[in-house]
Amino acid sequence: MAVETVRKPYVRQRSAWWWTKNPRYVLFQFRELSSVFVVLYAFLVLWQLWALRGGSDAYYAFLVMWYSRPMMALNAVILAFAILHSVTWFALTAKVPLFRIKGRPPPAALVIGASLAIWVALSLLIVKLLYGGF
């Protein structure tokens, strides 16, 4: 071989802060983070059920903690993430056409809009049905 050449493909390292470079990546990270809060809330409710099982004293102790300021704040944060999850999830599922209109997948905006409408209606229905209204 006449010519010896060096060649080292350069593999760049991704910084741990890659996601801060683009607002859409930030949103994505928050969406992913919502999973932590969803899981956390599932456990909190299990705890709540356990306390309710434990009788009136146990449940009152739980309620004192539940309606403390820090816990209220945490729950508000969890709610915010839950809403973020809902909205991004509707955007996501709009990409998977479950049905077709005149042979074409429905436009994403339509699917998202319909999902949001169903979401609001369903929430009101639950308030009415399970909680007997406000």
């Binding site: 060649r7 080292k8 350069y10 996601w19 859409r24 996501l92 990409k95 042979g103």
Partner: protein, 251 residues
């Protein structure tokens, strides 16, 4: 050839010369600027008039051959379809496509991408081949419309450059190859669904995608690979679950 009085523009280009230095470095160039210049024109100006060693790929300069991708100001773009006038920052920062190994200057290693493309079995698979003399397979415009969007991929790899999952898992099948798999899945002439779904539903296949969605944002041909992957997932999951629930049913 800078005329007197012409506007100038400054570009910062990330360069890598493996035979000179072990690390990439940035170099700045200031060149005359016209309003109708795309980024590729600027690169060509530098190569022709300032530094012929600058290395990058291009050919069609009409957004169809897919060779001229680079990260411009941090976003993967076709340099032949990106006007300098639309860029706000100065200097304009030009780097090789992210998530790929750099060979030289703006040239990245495409081989991993080619392997993925091939792995997705992007061709018609038929159990029975109709002889050519018997003519074409009929396909209505509606049937064509079903996969048309996914057939528009120019293999420019911008989507891979934008996908953070591909950024940490170089084995991830990735957006474009998945979109191509879906393109053949949805083609009324194809009968290779089982084989192809098996090929993409692997450990580093479609399940790795966490639906960041940035691939679809950067895709210059509106292929929507993000949507394509979710559709593939739904197809593969229902297929597998059916197979498990009804082990005796024809798949």
């Amino acid at each position: 050839m800078a005329d007197r009085g012409t506007k100038m523009i400054k570009l910062r280009i990330s360069r890598y010369r493996p035979e000179r230095s072990g690390e990439p470095f940035d170099q700045e160039f200031t060149i005359p600027y016209r309003d109708d210049m795309v980024v590729l024109d600027a690169l060509n100006y530098i190569k022709d008039h300032i530094d012929p060693t600058l290395t990058y790929r291009w050919s069609c300069r009409m957004g169809i051959c897919g060779s001229c991708g680079a990260n411009v100001d941090g976003t993967p773009k076709l340099t032949c379809a990106l006007y300098l006038r639309d860029l706000k920052k100065r200097p304009v920062l030009i780097e090789p496509l992210a998530n790929f190994a750099v060979l030289k200057d703006l040239v990245v290693d495409i081989e991993p991408f080619m392997e993925k493309l091939e792995a997705a079995k992007p061709y018609i698979i038929r159990k029975d081949e109709r002889p050519i003399e018997r003519g074409e397979y009929r396909q209505t415009p509606e049937e064509l419309e079903l996969y048309r969007q996914q057939s528009l991929c120019i293999n420019c790899m911008l989507c891979y450059s934008a996908c953070p999952v591909y950024g940490h898992d170089e084995k991830f099948l990735g957006p474009a190859a998945s979109a191509l798999a879906l393109r053949y899945e949805l083609d009324s002439r194809d009968q290779g669904s089982e084989e192809r779904l098996a090929a993409v539903a692997t450990e580093h296949g479609i399940w790795q995608c966490t639906f960041v969605g940035e691939c679809s944002v950067v895709c210059p041909k509106h292929v929507d690979p993000a949507g394509a992957i979710q559709q593939l997932k739904a197809l593969a999951a229902t297929r597998l679950m059916k197979a498990m629930l009804l082990p005796l049913a024809p798949r």
